[in-house]
Amino acid sequence: MISPLRLFAPLILFAVVVTLLEALSQSGIAPRYLLPPPSEVWATLRGDAREYLRAATITLTEAGLGLLLSFLVGNGLAILMSVSRWLSAALQPYAVFFQTVPLIAIAPLLVIWFGYGIPTVVVAAFIVSVFPVIVNTLAGCRAVEPALRDLFRLYGASRFQTLTKLTLPHAIPNMVTGLRIAAGLAMIGAIVGEFIAGGGLGGLIDAARTQQRLDKVFAAVLLASLAGVLMVGLVNLSARVFVGRWREPGTD
C-alpha cells in the first residue's frame, strides 16, 4: 500500500509549483508567450481533450510496441549472449551501439526506411529502450551462483534445462529492472520519433512549437509525462502480479 506521505508529498509539491507558475505568469513577471499560466494550459487541454487523448493513445501504443519489441529482442539477445561466450563477445560492441546512438541523428534514416507513421516511431522507441533490457537480463543470467551451476552439472542437466530451470528464473528480477528503465526510455524514443515521423503527442508538440503555441506544447508535455508514468506503472504492476515471489523480502 502507498503510505500517506508518498501519496500527499508529491501532490503538495505539485500544487505549490503550479500556484507559483500561475502567479509568475499572471503578474506579468514572466510573459505569457514564454510561460503560459497553468490555468491556460489546462483550458487548452480541456478544449481539445479529444485530440490530446487520441494523440496520447497513439504515442502510448507506439511506445508500448517498442517496449514489447525491446523485451523480446533484448531478452533474446541476452539469453544467447549468456549461453555462448562467442556470441557474447561478438554482440557486445553492437549492444553498446544501441546505448550510444543519437536517435535524433538517425531518425531521418528511419523515416526513409519505414515511412512517415507508426512503424518508424515504434523502431525509434525500440532503439532507445533495448539496451537496458539486454544489459540487465545478461547481468542476471551471469550472476547465478556457481554452486547452483555445479548442482546442475552434477545431475547431468542439459543446456536447455540449465537455461529454463536456473538461468532464466534467476534473471527475472533483473529483467523487471531492465524493463522498468526501458519503459521510460521507450516513451522518450516514441516522442522523439514522432518529432520526425509525425503523429501522436510528439507530432502535436512539433506543430505547436512552430505556431509558438506554448500552451499547447505544455499540454502535450504534461500528457506525455503522465503517459510515461502510466507505462512504468504498468510494468511495475505486471511485475508484481507475475513475479511477486522473486521479490520476497530476505531472499538471498
Binding site: 552434477l154 528464473p169 534467476h170
Partner: protein
Amino acid sequence: MNSHAAAIVFDQVEKDFRRTGKVIAGLDLEIHAGQFVALLGPSGSGKTTLLRLVAGLEQPTRGEVRVPDAARRNRGYVFQEAHLMPWRSVFANVALPLEILGRPREEIRAQVETSLALVGLESAGALLPHALSGGMKMRVSVARALVSKPSLLLLDEPFSALDEATRFRLATELRRIWLAAGMTVVFVTHSLAEAVFVADRAVVFSQRPLRILADLPIPLGAERPDRLRVSPAYAELLARVYEIVAETGDAHTRHAT
C-alpha cells in the same frame, strides 16, 4: 568392509590451478563403499578440491581418481551453504535433481516426501526458502542431496555456518540417515570435534599442498548418542587428533594461505 573394486581410489593425484598453484600433491587415498569418512584440514587446504574431484566437478592434473560406477551415476552433494533457489518452494527445491533426471511425477512426489521426512521437514514443503532459518535451509539442502537415493553423499563443511546446537543436531541426524541408508559418506570439515563425533574414520590433512598427516579409525560404535560428546572415549580420541594436528605444527591454522 567391502571389496576393493567398490572403493573410491585416489592414485597419485595431483591438482594444479593456474592461479593458486599446486593444491594437491601426490595423494593416495582409498575410501571404501559404505564408509563414513571425515576429511579434516585447515581452511584453504584443498579439501573442497578433493571433494570436487570425487564428484567429477574437477579433473586431476596428474594421476587418477577412480569412483565406482554406482557412485558416479548417483551422488549427492551438499555445499557449504544451502544454495536453495529462492523462487522455488522447499518441495520444488528438493525435487530439482529428479526433475533434471527426468523422473516421472509420481515418483518425484514420493521421493521428495521421503527425503523431507528424513530431515524432519515433512510439513515444510510449501514454504519458500526465505521463510526458513539457517538450520532449516541446510536440512532442505541435505534432503535435496538425498532425494535421488545416492550411493555416495559428499558434504563440504555443510554445517559450518550454523550455530553450535543446530550443528550438533544435524550431525546426529546425518549419522542416523547414514545408518539407515548405508551409502558412502565423505564429510569435509575443519572441526576436529565434529569429525570425531560423526565419522568412522578421520583423515587429517596438512596445509596446502594437501597431503595426509594421519588416517585414524574412530571406533565409537554405530550409534552416536548426544552424551557421547562428554564421554571419556570421545574425549580421548579427540585429544589424540588434537595432538597429531599440534605435532605437525602448520596443520590447523584456521586461515587460508
